[in-house]
């Protein structure tokens, strides 16, 4: 069953700034959708439009079939977790969680029951009488989630909820959010700029760029078949190697000295891409090209090698190679590489679309 529908939803500010031209998105019930993009791409604005905190300039938002454009945030049956948590500082954890229920006129004993259930689920029972300032970052984050969960809303909205936590806690909370969402089965819209967070949480991802949805799909769709160079560069870490090239009869001409053979009917300027993890170390005879190593980052489980494609003039394209396990090649030495054709991504340079 479809739960939330955004139909040509757009946002124009009174000063004429076109924040979001038009976004179409259909969310199934229980789905976990992540809006991801660089800062300023309009992802938070879009989320706030769904919440009712920003007006919708054009298009229509429907939740469970009902038009929501004119409804107040409280009437949309949504709950939101804010980046700074937005806990009421003068209220105890219990009152923070009970506030929304009280406003809706729920009887006191039912509120107590609901709050204690959710507190139990999140491990907050001991903290119910504390004030937000007496809690750690992770605990505040949990209270913010508890406040959202206690109301049993149709839709959860998360606005970069993990960006104020340290790296270790972020990973832990990420897993927790995913498990809770699975358990509750509540439709979720989640905003983040962190592509790892996006990939691990999402059923489907929406990659936003300048207010436009560049691509909507499962994390693996986006990884395997990015629709544009923007998505290709944004999804995956380290990001995909993208090199401007020319598609000719002989194949992909990267430089005067280097052409990768390929028969393709398209001609002209293209962007050739290959992920760092898909480049293979080879020997001089079998290699497609050589890399002049400039820097080596050893991370233990993997090694990132930064270099330039070796050319006579020395101004070859920069490239990153990701090898599993430890490697210690010498800086400035040459490394022979193979770029298997099944891992290539080709984009038309003019239209920025996948070929």
């Amino acid at each position: 069953m479809t739960d939330v529908i955004l139909e040509k939803v757009g946002k124009t500010y009174p000063n004429g700034y076109h924040a979001i031209p038009s976004v179409d998105l259909t969310i199934e019930e229980g789905e976990f959708i992540v809006l991801v993009g660089p800062s300023g791409c309009g992802k938070s604005t879009l989320l706030r439009m769904v919440a009712g905190l920003e007006s919708i300039s054009t298009g229509e938002l429907r939740i469970r079939g009902e038009r929501m454009n004119e409804k107040e945030p409280a009437e949309r049956d949504i709950a939101m977790v804010f980046q700074n948590y937005a806990l009421y500082p003068h209220m105890s954890v219990y009152d923070n969680m009970a506030y929304g229920l009280k406003n809706r006129g729920m009887p006191k004993d039912q509120i107590a029951e609901k709050v204690s259930d959710v507190a139990q689920m999140l491990g907050l029972t001991e903290l119910l009488q504390r004030k937000p300032r007496q809690l750690s970052g992770g605990q505040r984050q949990r209270v913010a989630m508890g406040r959202a969960m206690v109301r049993d809303p149709k839709v959860f909205l998360f606005d970069e909820p993990l960006s104020n936590l340290d790296a270790k806690l972020r990973v832990q909370m990420r897993v927790e959010i995913r498990q809770l969402q699975r358990k509750l089965g509540t439709t979720t819209l989640y905003v983040t700029h962190d592509q790892v967070e996006a990939m691990t949480l999402a059923d489907r991802l929406v990659v936003l760029n300048k207010g436009k949805a560049e691509q909507i799909g499962t994390p693996m769709d986006l990884y395997n078949k990015p629709a544009t160079p923007f998505v290709a560069a944004f999804i995956g870490s380290p990001s995909m190697n993208l090199i401007n090239a020319n598609l000719t009869e002989q194949g992909i001409k990267i430089s005067d000295a280097l052409t990768l053979p390929l028969s393709h009917q398209h001609r002209g300027s293209i962007v050739w891409g290959i992920r760092p993890e898909h480049l293979e170390v080879s020997d001089e005879r079998n290699a497609d090209f050589a890399l002049r190593i400039q820097a080596v980052e050893s991370l233990g489980a993997e090694t990132l090698i930064h270099g330039k494609i070796e050319t006579a003039s020395g101004d070859g394209e920069p490239l990153v190679v990701r090898l599993s396990g430890p490697h210690l090649p010498d800086v400035n030495s040459l490394m022979w590489l193979m770029a298997p054709a099944q891992h290539w991504h080709l984009f038309d340079e003019k239209t920025q679309q996948r070929l």
Binding site: A51, G52, L53, E72, P73, A74, I78, A79, M80, F82, Q83, N84, A86, Y88, P89, H90, Y99, G100, N103, R104, P132, R133, R147, R151
Partner: protein
């Protein structure tokens, strides 16, 4: 940041003007008042006699003194409550304005720059029973306005005149307080189903409580001690004793009634009250509420 001076003398030299002002206009008179409170002096200051605590005993057995204390309390709390409520209302409105915000804010701050006596005279003219526009309008509306005869009306007049000036000050602090309340809290409350009215009273107002308490103390101190000019310019403490606050009484008894010893004793009591209020104020400002 700490600034260190190469020589010891310069910091003292820089402090000297303020220290001199404090000494001449505060410490010395205070010491004089304290001393005088234990003497009885003739009207011309030619002779005086040590009488111990007699001035204080007279003071605390005088029903007029208690009357004046009550007047001061009524006056001060009226000024504080009316002034703060109006200022809070204006601040909430100004906070919501999007266009011309600065113009409203600037205009609302202006009255603070008006000298107390001028404020008093201004309202005195507006309310003058024979020619004041407001008084005439009130008369046409059926209210028999004459603050020269009616003690309650006189009280209302001095409260209005004193409040008007203080609203600007309160407004500034409330506006700053409102702007310090994170927007996301209001938004969270909106999603939590609270009406704008409820949002204000359950979220914004409690978060303003440090500001509110600070202003309450400042307003009370203002009404207690800094409204002499306004009262002198409008009602001169009358009719009868109806607007004679403690500070006005010090002046009235000392310089009109020429009971210098009794007046000095009253000053000493007032000094004790100022001290007490300052302690309360500072203790409270020490512990600020954190928005987090």
């Amino acid at each position: 940041m700490t600034v260190t001076f190469p020589q010891k003398g310069l910091p003292w030299l820089l402090l000297l003007p303020q220290l001199l002002v404090t000494a001449i206009f505060f410490l010395w008179p205070a010491e004089q008042a304290l001393e005088q409170a234990f003497y009885q002096e003739d009207a011309f200051g030619l002779s005086r006699e040590f009488i111990g605590l007699e001035n204080f005993i007279d003071l605390f057995t005088d029903p007029l003194y208690y009357q004046s204390m009550l007047t001061t309390l009524v006056f001060s709390f009226s000024v504080a409550i009316v002034g703060m409520s109006l200022a809070l209302f204006l601040a909430v409105m100004a906070d919501r304005v999007i266009r011309g915000k600065l113009a409203y804010q600037t205009l609302l701050i202006w009255p603070y720059a008006v000298a107390p006596v001028l404020a008093g005279v201004l309202w005195w003219i507006l309310f003058d029973p024979s020619m004041g526009p407001i008084a005439l309008w009130l008369k046409s509306a059926g209210v028999d306005w004459n603050h020269y005869l009616d003690g309650n009306q006189a009280m209302i007049l001095v409260v209005i005149a004193s409040t008007w000036k203080q609203i600007s000050y309160n407004f500034l602090f409330f506006l700053a307080g409102l702007q310090a309340v994170p927007r996301s809290l209001i938004e969270a409350a909106a999603i939590d189903g609270a009406s704008p009215f409820k949002r204000f009273w359950t979220i914004v107002f409690p978060l303003l409580s440090p500001t509110t308490f600070f202003l309450l103390v400042v307003n009370l101190v203002y009404a207690f001690f800094e409204t002499f000019g306004v009262i002198d310019a409008t009602t001169k403490g009358g009719p009868g004793q109806s607007t004679t606050t403690l500070v006005y009484k010090v002046f009235d008894d000392g310089f009109v009634g020429l009971d210098l010893g009794g007046s000095a004793a009253q000053s000493v009591v007032l000094m004790a009250i100022v001290g007490l209020m300052t302690v309360i104020q500072f203790r409270f400002i020490e512990r600020k509420v954190q928005y987090s």
